[in-house]
Symmetry: C3
Subunit: 205 residues, 3 copies
């Protein structure tokens, strides 16, 4: 599990970078504000999952490596801002890998706490998306997940895939990789082909 | 308690419908977004109450019927959108019955956890209104409860009525119905007669 | 600890006043809305801290004096609105004393629950600022802490000072006062001299 732990810490760092950059697009925050938003974006989803499940202590409260990873992410975002902005496409890939991993890890954690698979899938998705939702609320944006990109939906599909494949006995590490690839695949295809979910209500005319 | 359980599940379904419709007014979400907001509107108030009280597991985490009710509500909202919009007045009645029920159930739950009646009344009101508050925050609106309609106030009055009548020994089912009717009555009269609470601060001319 | 308890209750009352006044600037709420925002501003930071730490029961759920203090604060804000607005400068001082106290008390509480000092400092800052952040989100403002004033930063510095001085063996009451004065000092100087943190990203040109 060593590798996965490292991936999680690195994923947290990427989330902090992405949070700080996104915050800057909108609210033009000072140093503290950007760090704060990077922090919330990183830990928001997992914290909400754990609070809803009543699972204490929260990961980052218990393990400082996540806090350090966030701090490093924010510093990197500030120093390499221009490079990172130019690297948006590369960065988009990192972000996608990040949410894929967070989804599966979150689903697993919920399952390990004994909840029903339906709830576990919801919790897995929450782990990946709620940090971004909170970030958007704080910067006074309508959360993007309500409008564009097959974002949360990809996470939900991946979580369901993970649970189904696990149910049919697929070995865990193998399952982890396949389910993550499903999330990554759906999102990349959706963005590449400019797909989106149908509007909830079709406008007349 | 069988009947009450059914009412709660049905109430959750109505909250999901109302959440999905309200979301659509504002953010024009896709299918996922509308479902997400329907979900949050339904479970937000009760979840916040339970988190504040430290009462685990949360109802919907523990009992999937609530999750299914929400899903059905969202599907109904999408299919019967036009009918539901035309039925707004009927719907308003359902919504009012819903918040009345959620208030009393929430008050009871808080009481059963041993808190002071003052806190129980606050928690009852939170159960009914906080889902809507979170919905408004997510869709970037100023929560309506801050501005119009005697909405939360009706819930608070009902919760206080329930606690007072219980204190004077009124039988529980009877109390439940009377207190719910008080909430429904206050809200209907307020909306009918266009009453609202006085502004906090009167503007000088 | 009697004096500190009284200070905390009084501080909560001041937070409620400040919340109700700030709400009025923006959302022009009715009586209920202003009380609600005053309530959230007062208890939001400490509640979030306790929820993140899994420390139950929450202070105000357990001890009604805080709820009464909030109620008194809202009534005072309504009655003495004009006087209070004119007293903004005096009031600013109260607010500053309030966040200083909340920071140290929050840091202490987190420490007493056995978390790492880094987390304790974050939790101390959260105790002081998150009520205001939630208030700004509810009234549809971008939280001011992201943009102006050395506000949260002062709290963080104070929390770090408290932890450092405690580490070096300074007596607790003495430490409390010095650390609070550090927060008050930083904020007063920053506002007086119109200091702010550097923007996260410097605009070109």
């Amino acid at each position: 599990m060593q590798i996965q732990y490292i991936l999680e810490v690195v994923g947290t760092c990427f989330f902090a970078i992405s949070g700080a950059l996104a915050a800057n697009d909108k609210a033009k925050p000072d140093w503290f504000g950007a760090s704060f938003i990077g922090f919330i974006t990183s830990i928001g989803g997992g914290s909400l999952r754990d609070i809803l499940l009543g699972s204490y202590p929260l990961v980052w409260v218990h393990d400082l490596n996540f806090v350090y990873a966030i701090f490093i992410g924010v510093v990197l975002a500030s120093i390499f801002f221009k490079v990172l902005i130019r690297l948006r496409k590369t960065f988009f890939l990192f972000d996608t890998v990040g949410i894929a991993m967070f989804t599966i890890v979150g689903t697993e954690k919920a399952l390990s706490l004994g909840v029903n698979p339906v709830i576990a899938a919801i919790m897995g998705m929450f782990s990946a998306i709620m940090g971004g939702v909170i970030r958007d609320v704080l910067t006074n944006e309508i959360p993007i997940i309500f409008k564009k990109e097959v974002y949360a939906t990809a996470c939900l599909c991946g979580a369901i895939a993970y649970l189904s494949l696990g149910y049919f006995g697929l070995e865990r590490n193998c399952n982890f990789i396949i389910s993550a690839l499903i999330i990554i695949g759906i999102r990349l295809v959706a963005v590449k082909m400019n797909l989106s979910l149908p509007k909830f209500i079709k406008e007349d005319k």
